[in-house]
């Protein structure tokens, strides 16, 4: 039972990490769930947020301007993805890949080098906790409060006229346009918001680990996705409140599993493989289940299992009850 004590010691750190990554998870959830538009930009806007915050902190800006700068930069990146997608009619996935690839160079330019250490500078954590940047538990509480604030703002925003419009665009663009909502503007707004959140996550991460690195974004999208899916599996997403909090709960739980995996002897480098497998299973399970069900249903309907005995397919008058 030695791995349990190892895990127990990892709990506070994994809680804090989960809270930091829940910001990215929120930035992943918005395009995937609210806009129904898969977007990979967070893989680039997360390190962008880290780079901008680190560069600004290192050149003497305060904590608040550094975080605000990171947020703005990420929002701009999200906006870029949306514009490429809408103007050049490139799929949202490819637009995101183009933007995140370009951001790799941008991030090095921003910092002037591939990474920046922040050990000698004031950060969110040294300012608000203690000179050492707090303990994992106080860090968790601080980031947790920040995440709750973000969730509150999102909850308010998504209940405004514009927020309702955004959700309508994500649900049905034809309906949205027929109701006077410009689907393009809302896609831009949604991806901008998502980019800002991912960058806020990056800025928080850089200050949390006192270190920003161009490669800190690798795999962050799948982590965000894993958090979102896990949260939805635990907590559901059939109300807006649940949809907003699912990525947070999911991220925190996800890092508990990571801590468990590490205490069981997996190497940190194995984690990306495990996370990928987890996302694959989570995404694939409902589809496989549906396939099994419809196969059984067909067999029952047809009786003999002969597809050709179902008769002609009705032309147009599809009956919908």
């Amino acid at each position: 039972m030695e791995f349990l004590t190892t895990y127990w010691n990892l709990v506070p750190v994994s809680l804090a990490q989960g809270a930091v990554y829940s910001l990215v998870a929120l930035g992943v959830m918005i395009p995937f769930r609210l806009l129904s538009l898969p977007d990979l930009t967070s893989e680039g806007s997360f390190p962008l947020g880290g780079a901008v915050a680190a560069a600004m902190l290192a050149s003497g800006f305060g904590v608040v301007p550094a975080i605000a700068g990171a947020l703005l930069a990420g929002a701009l990146a999200g906006c870029m993805t949306a514009l490429i997608h809408l103007i050049f009619k490139v799929t949202s996935l490819l637009s995101g890949i183009i933007v995140l690839t370009m951001l790799f160079s941008v991030n090095i330019r921003v910092m002037g080098k591939p990474n920046t250490a922040l050990f000698n500078y004031d950060t969110l954590f040294t300012k608000l906790l203690d000179a050492d940047g707090g303990t994992p538990m106080t860090q968790f509480i601080l980031v947790g409060a920040m995440v709750l604030t973000v969730c509150g703002v999102l909850y308010w925003l998504l209940h405004t006229e514009l927020g309702l419009g955004l959700r309508a665009v994500g649900s049905n663009q034809i309906m949205a346009r027929a109701q006077g909502l410009s689907s393009t503007s809302f896609v831009i707004a949604g991806l901008t918001l998502a980019g800002g959140l991912a960058a806020l996550g990056g800025a928080t991460m850089a200050q949390y680990q006192s270190y920003a690195d161009v490669n800190m974004g690798v795999g962050v999208l799948v982590i965000g996705l894993a958090g979102t899916i896990l949260g939805e599996a635990i907590w559901g997403r059939n109300t807006l409140l649940r949809q907003i909090t699912a990525p947070v709960i999911g991220s925190i739980c996800y890092f508990q599993f990571v801590a468990l995996a590490l205490s069981l002897g997996f190497r940190p480098s194995d984690l990306k493989l495990l996370t990928g497998l987890f996302v694959l299973v989570a995404l694939g399970a409902p589809i496989l289940r549906e396939k099994m069900k419809s196969r059984k249903r067909n067999l029952r309907l047809i009786g003999t299992g002969n597809r050709h005995k179902r008769g002609p397919v009705p032309e147009k008058g599809r009956i919908v009850r």
Binding site: H159, E161, L164, R167, N172, G180, V320
Partner: protein, 272 residues
Amino acid sequence: MSSDNIQAGLHVSGLRKTFFPGTVQEKAALNGVDFSLGAGEFGIIIGSNGAGKSTTLNAISGELPLDEGCVVVAGQDMQRRPAHLRSRHMARVFQDPMQGTAASLTIEENLAIAARRGASRGFRKGLKNVERDWFRTALEVLGLGLENRLKDRVALLSGGQRQSLTLVMATLNSPSLLLLDEHTAALDPRAAELVLNATLKAVEGQKITTLMITHNMEQAINHGDRLIMMHAGRVVLNLDHSEKAGLTANDLVARFHDVVSDRMLLNRPWNF
């Protein structure tokens, strides 16, 4: 007649649309469509499959860019306005019951969005408490009990219920023009009748200028102020209220045997 009266209603002239021009799949869907509806007039379009009825409606609503032609609604030239800006003047109900509502939003949220169609939107509350009574009253007319399910997601509703909700959304704040594209065709007979009755009640009660596509000749003959028949991207028959007064389905079939599609014959309300 004042210029206001001439302008009110719907005026459509010279609509042309060719899909995939210059390719082997080239398809001229509209070959110069002209017609007008006066303010408050209820026009019904019939015509064979592929006649260009939906294309006409999509051109009016701005979902489909035209090659040529002019659309004027309530005195406003709609040219070059994108669909979402045209929606200030017009509301739509689609053939597919899934297209008119946002499934992941609740009934009341869908109605709140419809209540603001054409208005500018900001950071105000998207749904005010006082609006709920208005929504309930509007839903009660349907007699489906939807007024007690304001907080249900639309995804939980049947096709007929969704189509009824779409109709309420479209007529909630009397649009200048209502566009209906075979909006009962995908429903089972009972739901279709219910939605049709609700449509007639709203259109006649609020005197909304309405353009309805149907493939049901009985509907086309019994209702509406104007009957428009389309074929091969053109209007081939345009009868006003008095001209269509004595019309029977048999007359139509006799005069337009080649135009009337099998699908319409299947819906015939008569026996030979």
